[in-house]
Subunit: 153 residues, 2 copies
DNA sequence: TATTGATCTCAACCTTACTTCAGGTCTCAA
DNA sequence: TTGAGACCTGAAGTAAGGTTGAGATCAATA
């Protein structure tokens, strides 16, 4: 009980504990630390110790990764927080709203791709001139004026 | 005119021509060939020559990649076609329908993630027990019975 | 105390999808 | 025929996101 109680009232976490509780491997913790996404201090015997907020940081990292945000960008976002603090509720609101936007764009892009695929499954032309699937630039100027589909390449 | 006309009536394509017309680099063509996704024969001077269907193959590869299919899987799918032929309209129908399914699953998964994110943006708890964002397993058993969100870890 | 199990560091390796480089050869238009 | 540009091969490099291994030390339990 003493170990768990100690953790519960805010004492240091060992690498193994963080790994178990956050679901990432110890090697990944090292990796994140090298990249500056998390921080640790050292015990007298040079072993890493983590404060409890590392769990929240790792949670944020994992969610951002699910969204598809690369680690470097996650790191940049975390680094921009004052004092390098772990995101509080307000910080999270900003970060997640931003990431939600990225996610939504990915969804829209994939949805458009799916629709183009639907239009092409029966056709199968894959024409370099006429096939929307082969002309991803359409994504950028969906409804602009001028000829796009039938112009020569 | 002779060069273009020759290409148009079905003669061999050089690596550079294929690269220009398909939009992938020559080095990528080498790479695809090494992976078995495309094929070439050789000129008397040991230079690669491609038959025109390589353009269609590369088109299929590029579309599949946009969908998010890894090259290895694209290669497997192409290899399963009789005689290693380039997908005809019927083949394309089967392939693309299959890939459309994968794509749709990705879209649904991301959409669900976005909805979970929406529910969590204002909350910001990221609780290991209660936060849907932190429990991706929900994806697999969305509507099954039994407690899932509040059970201890 | 002794011995596991957990950690330490640093380098090397993995996968995917290619690109770049070096040194040498082809091809083709002038 | 000759020179520019295209092509050849094999090895190495790149980027992301880690994992694995070796050899050594720490820490906690029997």
């Amino acid at each position: 009980m003493s170990k768990i109680a100690a953790a519960d009232i805010g004492k240091a976490l060992t690498p193994g504990e963080v790994a178990r509780r956050s679901g990432v491997a110890v090697s990944a913790l090292h990796f994140y630390e090298k990249k500056g996404l998390i921080h640790s201090y050292r015990s007298s015997g040079n072993q890493r110790r983590y404060s409890r907020d590392v769990l929240r940081r790792v949670a944020v990292i994992k969610v951002a990764q699910r969204i598809g945000i690369p680690l470097a960008e996650i790191g940049r976002a975390l680094a921009e927080l004052p004092d390098g603090r772990t995101p509080n509720a307000h910080d999270w609101k900003r970060l997640s709203a931003h990431w939600r936007h990225d996610l939504n764009e990915r969804i829209q892009s994939l949805t458009q791709l799916r629709d183009q695929l639907d239009g092409c499954i029966g056709c199968g032309c894959l024409s370099i001139n006429a096939c929307r699937l082969r002309n991803p630039l359409d994504e950028l100027s969906e409804d602009g004026p001028g000829p796009r589909l039938l112009e020569p390449d």
